[in-house]
Symmetry: C2
C-alpha cells in the first residue's frame, strides 16, 4: 500500500453528523460481559476478566443477546453451519454483496473484555448510528460474530471463518473436540455443542453462500506500540508471517553431583543456549522469537534432564526474512547442540504451523486510513511527530486473515493498555473504544461510497 | 588426608587368603533384584532396572532375605525404629563397638541394580568370606541396610541414617508422607509403612543406642571419572558441598506476535540466560551447576510466560568456593534480570538445601587406600599413570555423610559404566563389583587390626 497511489477520499460533509455514542458502546460491552465474567481484580463492576469459552452456556447467552440486539434495529439475522451469526442492514441496492464488519465474542479462559468483544460491539454501535439517523447506505452493511476465534476451547484458531473461506473443511471443524473434559466427563465436539446451544444453523458455511463485498475488523492492538508512541489508531496493512516449531533436545540423565561438566549431555543447558540464540538471531533480523512452552524429563533437582521439549514461535513481516531466521536458527542450533554442549545433545525439529504473511487490500486500507485521519483530526497531537494514526502490521492472526482470501479486507487497531491481552486486566479506554468504533463506521461508509462511485452496485 | 603422615599398613600375609567370590556376590545381587525388578531393556534375566521403593512389598521381601542371609552365617540381626537392619558378627572382643559396612536396598523408581544394592551385597559377601574361613576378627564386624536412602518414596534423602545420627528427629522421619498416593488412594507415612511390613523395630534409632567404631560404604561412583581414566577403585576422601535453590523469574505474559522485543518481560528468555550464566560461573570455579526442574506459567505457544520457576543445584569440593559461586550467581542474575532482559524481570531466590562439604576420617581413608593398593597390585595397569586407584570426592550425598558425624567413616567407589546411575541401565561389571567388595573387606580388616594395635579394644 502506497498512500500516494490512491485518491485521498475526504467526505467529512457526509459523515460528520454520524457519531458513535461512547456511553452506549461501553454499556453494550459491559452488559454483554455479564455473560462469562470471571477473574475479578478490582471493586468496580467492570473490573473482571472473562472466561466465555466458545459454545458454552455463557456463549449461548451472548449469542441470544447479539441476535435480539441486531433484530431490534431492523437487521436480518442468520446463522450458518458453524454458528457464525450474520446481521444485515439492507442498503439502497439490496442485491450487491454486503460490506461487513465483525469480530468474535468468545474469549480466552483467562481473557479480557475487549479482545474480539470490542470489534463486535463497535460494529453493532455503527449499525445503531445508521439506524437512528435513518441512513440509507449505497449497498447492504452487515456485522458478523465468528465462532471460536480464540481456538481456546476447540483447538483451531479462527476455525469458523476458515470454514467460511473454504480453507478448513466443515467436517474437520465440526469434529474438533474440546481441549478439556466437560462436567459430565466427556469431551464434546463443536457440532455437538452447536446443536446443544441451538446455534447449528442451516445456512451453508461458505463465502459462496454468503459472500462479502469487503470486511473490516476493529480489534485492540494487543501490543504496546500505539500506547508507547502515543498514537490513537492503527491502520492495519497486513499480518506478519509466523512459524511454530516444537524442538526436542535429547541428552543424558546423569547425576548433578557426580557428572563432571566435560562428561555432560545436559539437555536443559543446551535448550537454554538455543532459546537465547533464537532470540539473538530474530533480533538481528528485526523479527520475533518466543518460547512459550518448555517441558523436561525426568524432572528431578539433582538429575540432568534427558529430554527437553520447547516451542519456538518466530515471526517477521516479510516471508523471506522469516525463512532466513529459521535457516539461521537451524544452523546455529546444530552447532550449539553438537559443539557447544560438552559431550553434545541431539536435536529434532517439528513444524507445527506455517502461516505466511497476509497483505490486506489497498482499497480497504485506504478507507481505514482516511477514516482514521478524519477521526484524529481534532485530537491533541500527542505523538512526537503529530500523527495519531499509524500504518501497522498485525502481530497476531485474526478472522480477517481468512476473509482476506475471499474479499477485500483491512483492520483497525486501538490502544491496548500496557500492551496486555489474553489477560483479565486487558484494557482499552472508553475514549479509545469510541475512536475505534468511529473509525470503523467511517471506513465502512467510505468503502460503501467507493463501490457506488465505481459503479460496482 | 596426606598419605605420608600415616603408616602404610601392609598386611598382605594376613588377608591374601581371604578372597571374595565374584560368582556368589553376583548371584546374591541378581537373586535379590528379583524383588522389585522393572524396566526391562534386554533379553538377559539381569537386563532390567529396579523399582524397589522404600517400605513397599518388594522392599519387605528383600529385607526378609537380608535377615535370613545374615542369620544363615551366624550373625545377630536387629531392627531399629526406622527399620534400619543391623547384622553383627562377633569378634574376639565382644564389648567394643562394631566396625560397620553398609549401604541401602531401596532404589529410585527408575533405578538400577547397583546403587546401594552393591554396597549391602559386598558387605554380606565380606561377612560370608569371614564366616567360611572361620576368621576371628579383633572386634565385631557388622553390616547395615539403611532405610529410604534414596528419598524417592519418602522425600528426605538418607533420612534413616540421619535419625541414627540424631541429625533428623524421629517424629519428623516417621511422619514423612510418601510422594505419590498408594493404590488405596491415600498417602502413607513412613511409620505406617514400617508397621505394615513388620519393620518398625523396638531398638532406639540412635548412634547412642547402637554406636559404630567405624563405617565403610562401598558404592558405585555414579559418575564417569574412574571409567574415563581407566582406574578401578575410588578412595573417597569426602563429599562435595552443595546447595539447592528454587529461583522464580517474574515477567509479563503478553502476546508473542504483538509484543515487540523492546517491550518484553520474557521470563523464559531471562531464565534461559540465567541457566547459561550459572553454568559459566560454576565452570570458572571448577564447580558444577545443574537445572533439573523448570516450570513455566501459563504455558501457551504464542504467549510469553509470566512466571518461570527453576531449580539450581550448585556444587564444589570447597565450601568457600561454593559460596563464591553462589555470590557471583546472585549478582550476575540480578544484572541479567534488570538490565539484560529488555524491560526487565524480577527474581526471587529460595534456598532449599545447604549441605556443606564432608571430610571423611583419615584413618578410614588410609584403610581404604591401603586395601585398594593391594587389590590393584596385580591388575594390568590401564591408567595412563599406572595408578588404578584414585583419591576422590563424592559428588552425591550418601548415608556415610551422616555416619561421619558420629564415627570415623570412608567410602569406596567402583567403576560405573558411562557414568550412568539412577537409570535402569546402570551397570558395574562383575569384575569391578568383585574388586570393590575385596577392597571393602580389606579396609574393614585393616581398620579392625589398627584399633587392636592402638589398644582401643
Amino acid at each position: 500500500m502506497n498512500g500516494s497511489k490512491h485518491s485521498f477520499i475526504r467526505m467529512k460533509h457526509d459523515y460528520a453528523a454520524l457519531k458513535v455514542k461512547q456511553d452506549r458502546l461501553m454499556d453494550a460491552i459491559h452488559n454483554g460481559c455479564k455473560f462469562g465474567a470471571s477473574h475479578r481484580y478490582g471493586d468496580d463492576p467492570t473490573e473482571t476478566g472473562m472466561a466465555r469459552m466458545s459454545l458454552d452456556d455463557s456463549d449461548k447467552q451472548i449469542r441470544d443477546w447479539f441476535k435480539s440486539s441486531v433484530e431490534s434495529i431492523g437487521c436480518v439475522h442468520s446463522v450458518d453451519q458453524m454458528g457464525n451469526q450474520f446481521a444485515l442492514r439492507p442498503g439502497k441496492n439490496k442485491q450487491a454483496y454486503p460490506v461487513m464488519m465483525g469480530s468474535h465474542l468468545d474469549t480466552q479462559p483467562t481473557g479480557g473484555r475487549y479482545d474480539g468483544i470490542l470489534g463486535v460491539n463497535a460494529g453493532l454501535e455503527a449499525l445503531r448510528v445508521l439506524h437512528e439517523h435513518d441512513v440509507e447506505t449505497e449497498g447492504t452493511i452487515g456485522l458478523v460474530n465468528w465462532t471460536n476465534e480464540e481456538g481456546a476451547r476447540f483447538p483451531m484458531m479462527a476455525v469458523a471463518s476458515g470454514v467460511w473461506a473454504e480453507a478448513v473443511p466443515l467436517e474437520t471443524a465440526w469434529n474438533l473436540s474440546e481441549v478439556s473434559v466437560s462436567n459430565d466427563g466427556t469431551k464434546k465436539t463443536m457440532k455437538q455443542e452447536l446443536e446443544r446451544i441451538g446455534y447449528l444453523g442451516q445456512q451453508k458455511a461458505s463465502y459462496k453462500e454468503f459472500p462479502f463485498a469487503a470486511y473490516f475488523e476493529l480489534h485492540i492492538e494487543q501490543g504496546p506500540i500505539l500506547e508507547m508512541e502515543q498514537r490513537k489508531i492503527g491502520v492495519v496493512e497486513g499480518v506478519q508471517a509466523f512459524k511454530w516449531f516444537e524442538i526436542t533436545v535429547r541428552g543424558r540423565d546423569t547425576h548433578a553431583g557426580t557428572t563432571p561438566m566435560y562428561a555432560r549431555m545436559d539437555s536443559m543447558l543446551c535448550a537454554a543456549k538455543l532459546i537465547v540464540e533464537a532470540n539473538k538471531i530474530a533480533k538481528g533480523y528485526d523479527g520475533l522469537a518466543t518460547t512459550g512452552i518448555l517441558n523436561m524429563q525426568p524432572g528431578s533437582i539433582n538429575t540432568m534432564a534427558h529430554t527437553v521439549t520447547f516451542t519456538l514461535d518466530i515471526r517477521h513481516k516479510i516471508d523471506e526474512k522469516l525463512s532466513q531466521i529459521e535457516k539461521e536458527c537451524r544452523s546455529r542450533f546444530q552447532e550449539i547442540a553438537a559443539n557447544e554442549s560438552e559431550k553434545g545433545c541431539s536435536l529434532e525439529w517439528k513444524e507445527l504451523v506455517d502461516s505466511p504473511a497476509v497483505k490486506f487490500h489497498e482499497d480497504c486500507i485506504a478507507a481505514v486510513r482516511d477514516s482514521a485521519i478524519e477521526v484524529c483530526e481534532d485530537l491533541p497531537k500527542s505523538a512526537s511527530d503529530g500523527q495519531l494514526w499509524k500504518l501497522m502490521i498485525s502481530g497476531a492472526g485474526h478472522d480477517a486473515c481468512y476473509t482476506n482470501r475471499r474479499c477485500p479486507t483491512s483492520m483497525i487497531f486501538t490502544v491496548t493498555k500496557d500492551g496486555i491481552s489474553h489477560n483479565p486486566r486487558e484494557y482499552c479506554s472508553p475514549e479509545d473504544c469510541e475512536l475505534g468504533a468511529q473509525t470503523l463506521l467511517g471506513a465502512v461508509l467510505r468503502y460503501d461510497k467507493l463501490r457506488a462511485e465505481r459503479g460496482e452496485l
